[in-house]
């Protein structure tokens, strides 16, 4: 199965192709606000270099967030249109999961990866994943959200609260987040293994944020998307929704007449 991965829900944008042998081509432009320009040329480039036609692709995997709104919309608009035009399905990949999935070095069973992405306005998007087996294949399937955040599923509370920072003595703070809210009971399950922090929302520390793990990689989106597609997660392009986790900023103005003239 050949999967095109699209990652643009951050300040970067890129594409990757993954088949039975793994990632065969990957491009990434780490410049902000270039999504609408640079994504389509990269799609063409990876296909040409890998010697495949777009028509050979079996599914499109796309980072649907959480992330930067305009970027993730460029990625989703591209993925949905390409898939619709090719008559194939789309797999939505969570940015935090892709970030954890792409974390190196290979992790041991029980180890935890915490993905933290800068959500701006003093907030972050975050999720924790635990490695369930040492075998890579199993690791892939075993990284489940082991969430944190006031004992609730972080995707349920919408990340609206000023989440963050406390974590462990091993990691001082997460950048720009003020008080960390972290369920102490939930913490216990992590203390046994090593913790790895990844993402541009995590402050650099001894074992956090190796280079290249500031954002999800296009390769991780392609590989994880391919895993999901093999598990039957590809859906019709129209069925894929963005994961904003935040309502738009907009205020209803005063009613006419109520304001002083």
């Amino acid at each position: 199965m050949l999967v095109l991965g699209i990652e643009s829900a951050s300040d970067q944008c890129g594409c990757a192709l993954a088949n039975d042998d793994g990632v065969v081509a990957e491009t990434r432009l780490a410049l902000p606000r270039r999504h609408a320009e640079a994504l389509a040329p990269q799609m063409r480039f990876v296909c040409e270099q890998a010697g495949v036609a777009l028509g050979d692709i079996d599914a499109v995997a796309v980072d649907h967030g959480p992330g930067l709104y305009t970027g993730l919309r460029a990625g989703l608009a591209t993925a949905k249109a390409a898939a619709a035009a090719l008559g194939i399905g789309v797999v939505a990949v969570n940015s935090l999961e892709a970030l954890a999935f792409g974390s190196a070095p290979p992790l041991e069973s029980g180890e935890v990866v915490i993905s933290v992405l800068d959500a701006r306005r003093g907030e972050v998007f975050w999720a924790a994943y635990q490695v369930c087996a040492s075998d890579l294949e199993d690791v892939i399937h075993g990284r489940k959200p082991k969430h944190t955040g006031r004992g609730k599923d972080p995707f349920e509370n919408g990340f609206n609260t000023r989440l963050l920072c406390l974590l462990l003595p091993r990691v001082d703070t997460l950048r720009g987040m003020g008080d960390l809210i972290f369920d102490p009971d939930g913490l216990e399950m992590y203390t046994a293994g090593r913790l790895l922090f990844v993402g541009n929302g995590a402050i650099s520390s001894d074992e956090t944020r190796p280079d290249g793990l500031r954002y999800p990689s296009p390769a991780a989106v392609a590989l994880l998307g391919r895993e999901k597609a093999l598990a039957g997660a590809a859906v019709a392009p129209d069925a894929v929704e963005p994961l904003y986790l935040r309502l738009p900023d907009a205020q209803v103005p005063n009613q006419p007449g109520s304001a002083a003239p």
């Binding site: 949905k80 249109a81 900023d249 209803v252």
Partner: protein, 361 residues
Amino acid sequence: MPRGSDRAASIVISVTPAPVGAATAVLGIETSCDETAAAVVAGGREVYSSVVTSQIDLHRAFGGVVPEIAGRAHLQLLPAAVSQALADAEIDAPSQPPDAVAATAGPGLLGALVVGLSAAKALALAWDVPFVAVNHLEAHLYAAFLNGAGQSIPSLPMIVLLVSGGHTMLIEMTAHGRYELLGQTLDDAAGEAYDKVARLLGLGYPGGPAIDRLAAEGDPEAVRFPRPMLADGLDFSFSGLKTAVAVHLRRHPATDRAAQADIAASFQRAVVDVLATKTLRAAEDRGISSLCLAGGVAANSELRARFEALGSQDYQVFIPTRAMCTDNAAMVAAAGWHQLQRQGASPLDAAPNATWLIPTT
């Protein structure tokens, strides 16, 4: 030469372009503001389909277009608009895709433009057809070239009055793709003045259609509002007119519908007087007898009537149908077709440009 540059060069593919003719069907995509639109137009004229999904209901409570809400809505609404436009045009993609894909690349809201532009590029790439990045203002001019209401094709050169919520311009279109900006607003656009006066009258958003409807019941001579810069050149100014309405309302509150209708009608008369006078001045200055209306405010009843009346004089007047005056994708497809014929496809890395001016020569 480093190996890398050979590689880089290989991404520029030279494709022998298919001839662009009357049968060339272009899929147009428009997402620059608060309309999500897709259309298929052949030969830059024959409208096979035109789908416009308005987001007005989403923005009304906020009294204007909220960029983030618009961006989200475009992503949600565009796929269905494209499918519908293709289905209405009886185009069976992917087996028989349209011949090209054109999208608005600016001016407009960046977060909104990105959606349509990204989708258009992906469609063009997947179908292996040319992609065309279209200027939204230029697209408005091409509304007059669509085959609505059995109109004849506008004769060039012509003077175009382009009036919308964001722009008020007098443009000389000398030939396809050749424009000269003769005058424009120095402050508010005409449509903006409509929105602001509508707010003063408590008519809600969008203001244009609301004032147009109410004005029909009122006396346009009831209040003599100023005609800003009427005697003076080809530029416009509407901010003072809006203030004059506000001042008038403070002194004479419009307490009933009749009073409101008089103000709406008087305001509209002032706007139309200015727009028509300046358009005629431009035509006389340039010795051009072909006149054209474009943009959302061109859907206004009184403005249309005034221009239609000019047609019985010495002018040839081209007025698009109302549906083609407000934002739509058929005009984008038509402009895209002309651009494709004139200068070929746009590069796939064409950037969205929120402040793109109309390309002048």
